[in-house]
Symmetry: C2
Subunit: 122 residues, 2 copies
DNA sequence: TTAACTGTATTAGTATTTATAGTACACTTA
DNA sequence: TAAGTGTACTATAAATACTAATACAGTTAA
């Protein structure tokens, strides 16, 4: 599914969160698709199940997955009630990053091209 | 100059870095302008000078300021050799954030409008 | 030269975070 | 029932983050 980089300064559970988030955002993991169980993924990645559990809890609190006791963890449907908050947070971060990019000399045209590039794959 | 929010979960030195970066990016602090001394800023913000020093060191390693022993710390000129790297990093982060925004339902048009909004103030 | 100002380095102590381990419980499914 | 799920809790060790106190070295201006 993915691998952990031991040289990465970021904590393992954060790496797991990031990798899974990427898979979800890029639609590799589809809506309501079942994720590996906590224990399975722990075996795959060769780390402690509690670390996976922590990552799953984080993803759930961020609204990307939902978990059902005894059944498993699944990818959340894209449009949920929490989406508005998430969108606003992302937009805030985007504002800061865009201002920084412009400060560094990136042009508005380059930025708009980037949007087309990222969004074009659908 | 700015204030520290004690309720903010982020460490003080990071808050200092963020605030100063904002001032630099938004051109409140101009090229080669002198920043407050480590000790002065520490008094202003009511924290330990070492915490400011850490923030300054971080800003220096990120290329936003440069420090001269005995003289002070100053805002870096915008275009430096390290800019290419910085730009690439920011573009990478932007790609991820843009993909996330699109996933959350933000349209390409909204994103392009955001660019115009951020960049329009100059 | 001296005094007061700069950044910097070092050391220390405390708090927090991270990762792991073990155990137990409750629910679902075959 | 048995095996597989998520979840909760405690404990521990290690690493990292954070702040603080102090001392050192360079610059500047009186």
């Amino acid at each position: 599914m993915f691998e952990i980089d031991p040289r990465d300064r970021n904590p393992i559970y954060e790496q797991v969160v990031e990798r899974l988030k990427e898979l979800i955002i890029h639609d590799v993991l589809k809506e309501d698709e079942k994720l590996p169980s906590v224990r399975d993924l722990a075996k795959q990645v060769m780390i402690n199940p509690n670390t996976i559990q922590k990552a799953y809890r984080e993803l759930e609190s961020q609204g990307y997955i939902y978990s059902l006791k005894g059944r498993g963890s699944f990818v959340s449907p894209t449009y949920t009630t929490e989406n508005k908050e998430k969108r606003e947070k992302v937009m805030e971060q985007l504002k800061k990053l865009l201002a920084e990019a412009l400060y560094l000399g990136v042009t508005e045209e380059e930025l708009k091209a980037l949007i087309t590039e990222v969004g074009g794959g659908e």
